[in-house]
Symmetry: C2
Subunit: 422 residues, 2 copies
């Protein structure tokens, strides 16, 4: 089926997209015959001189020409950088997996720099046998590799009251999607032995904020991991090194980093991060609580305000990401006119459960203004709502769980702006 | 099926592997009750003081405690580091995807440090319309995301004549497996328009060695990509930034990096890298040529000489990788006794076509000497051969295409050595 998709894209490219060939030919750059034969070819330095040898960079890093591809924070957003957030540069990356060095960060007490030799994970409370695990212990237990997205509940939170931030790095950049290696928490809990009245867990981090969240036992026994690798290498310090909780599909605040303790109890703890924070205040003055699941959502990453179109018309590729905390992405639709007409995007690469899925839409741009939107649907049938529909139900007091459809206005000069429609 | 595998692993863990609990209990570290109640808890610094804030490392890097996880070269192997190789630390990574910063390197003229604004890819020769593509041009064409392994034909080459190198980083580390984003070469060739007599391509790099290889057209039209991203971010300079060829399943020497030219012809060019190099001299004095495909192969990465077992008996996890240039890995078998008895390993995570697959084998180690082997089988039915069988057919003059079964001797003290059996 992927093969069909490729052919279909290729065919569409040739049917509709002769524009690229035409544009290239018009610019005089497409035919090598255009270069006067008596002109010496331009041989760049890198074709004439030896470069660095192997292992000069024993641990590699990007080209100096990619220095702009970094996480960024918004200084006015928080009082200090130790309790703040940085954003993934979604407009600079591709595929379904986020590079480790570019994953958004959210800390409550700064980055704990932990010596793994001095770190332990304790499981206690309503268990038959309290246990302490070192990292070496975890590596002696059955491990699995799974890709999951982690999205901060506050992702797109500033957009509740209208278009605020000009770039998908800021509107949607509190998400990453990584392949984790770890031990199913179920295995650890079974080893400790659960008491009959066990119903909830308290997860606690070893950082200076001592982050805690209550987790229903049923979720822990379903698909939660205690992970120690991300994308094949050790967790990064800012992502929980040496071990963290992975709570597939649920808000990232629950994915306790630097995890040091799991207490088994019979009811939730009602700590700060599930009472005064990470609850959704409705218009009627009551708050939604324990709203764990991140609903289906999508965004077009290219073009977007930080990544304008550099051509004026012709064959154009839209690239974007979609995800759902309830399962797999089933389809993504694209509108070029602010939601009036919709056409199916092409899903490409792996479509994993509760992970980011990459989509593309190729079309022949006539050079006129566009109002780009993407709309995700997951395999439960749930369809990503408009922001207008979301506000009708939830009001505008919320910060969390904004999964409304994003609109980018593309101008004839290729520039892109964050706008609201309807 | 993955779910079953997990349960099965978990069940096996509890049936056979109570040893871990017993060992942990015996060492006094498993029960928190073992800690005297009047002893103040050990609260480490990272739980008491604020750490670095967000975006202090705008482009992230590993913990300082992971500084040993690097590519390494072997100084006596080559005359210069500019025409040499560095090796992936396979024993330090997990899952099926290689982290970008740890991918093995093989250069013939050092690392070309290319400014993408000054780089072009030309397609010429037996085509209707010679074309030149910039990176921006490629990004306007239909793109796909695919995971493929790249293995140097010389990987394990020094082991032809017996066990030489003590660590899987050196015996098997000339492989990586990455998710590429790129344009199918087929799309570019169709745009240029192939002449009827077109049968071969010459691929040329922009580095100081001007690397060239001949590629059959049929392969180019099948699954070859011109890639510009690896694992979601721009190619690294040492891996071909800003664009490279991806030739799935075929020897990595053909995956021309820094690709600047594709000439279409009607026969191969017989350049250096396919005549004096990358051919296999047999016992009878003739040489196998154009031996592109990398056959099925596997290796146990943990334990291995650089990563000994740190326990003396009990529940033990073997981790390893398998791959085939002909398709998917169908199964991997494990021997603990040098090839006499075999048991099925558990494949975990994605099993992609022509990509690395991760496998595990969990067992209760009785503490006696082990002769560990892994044996891959691909979906064509091909089974990885022993080194003895391989030498019978190919002799010992070869450097390339050694896919023989690797043996690690594990001693009762946990140390591991590269040995030969049979």
């Amino acid at each position: 089926m992927k093969r069909e998709n490729e052919s279909s894209a290729s065919r569409r490219f040739f049917l509709k997209g002769g524009a690229l060939i035409a544009a290239a030919a018009a610019s005089g750059s497409s035919a090598i015959a255009a270069k006067p034969e008596n002109q010496a070819p331009n041989v760049p330095d890198w074709s004439k001189t030896l470069g660095d040898g192997v292992a000069v960079r024993a641990y590699g890093k990007p080209s100096k020409y990619e220095a702009h591809v970094v996480r960024r924070d918004v200084e006015w957003l928080t009082a200090s950088r130790e309790s703040s957030v940085s954003f993934t540069p979604l407009h600079e990356i591709e595929g379904p997996i986020t590079p480790n060095s570019l994953c958004f960060e959210r800390h409550h007490g700064g980055i704990a720099e932990i010596d793994p030799a001095d770190h332990q994970l304790m499981i206690h409370g309503l268990v038959d046998k309290p246990l302490i695990y070192t990292l070496a212990d975890l590596k002696r237990m059955p491990r699995v590799n799974r890709v999951y997205f982690a999205e901060c509940a506050a992702n797109s939170g500033m957009e509740w009251r209208g278009a605020q931030l000009n770039g998908c790095q800021y509107t949607h950049g509190m998400i990453h999607s990584l392949m984790y290696t770890g031990v199913p928490l179920k295995v650890l809990l079974e080893q400790a032995g659960l008491k009959n009245n066990a119903k909830w867990l308290l997860l606690e981090g070893a950082d200076a904020s001592g982050m805690t969240r209550s987790l229903p036992l049923a979720k822990a026994l379903d698909d939660v991991l205690i992970a120690y690798k991300m994308n094949g290498e050790a967790l990064r310090p800012e992502n929980g090194y040496p071990m963290r909780a992975v709570i597939p599909g649920w808000e990232a605040n629950m994915w306790v980093k630097w995890i040091r303790r799991i207490k088994v109890g019979d009811e939730p703890w009602h700590h700060r991060e599930e009472t005064s924070k990470y609850t959704d205040l409705l218009e009627n003055g009551t708050a939604r609580r324990f709203t764990y699941i991140m609903d289906a959502k999508s965004v077009i990453t290219n073009p977007s305000p930080q990544a304008p179109l550099t051509h004026r018309k012709g064959f154009t590729v839209l690239s974007g990401i979609a995800w759902s905390g309830r399962g797999k992405v089933a389809r993504v639709d694209i509108s070029l006119d602010g939601g009036r007409n919709w056409r199916a995007a092409r899903l490409d690469g792996p479509v994993w459960n509760k992970a980011v899925t990459r989509f593309y839409y190729e079309f022949d741009w006539d050079g006129s203004e566009l109002l780009l939107q993407s709309r995700a649907q997951d395999d439960t049938g749930y369809v990503q709502p408009t922001k207008v529909a979301l506000r009708k139900v939830r009001g505008v007091n919320s910060i969390y769980h904004n999964n409304g459809i994003q609109t980018w206005q593309v101008r004839p000069n290729g520039e892109v702006e964050n706008v609201e429609v309807g």
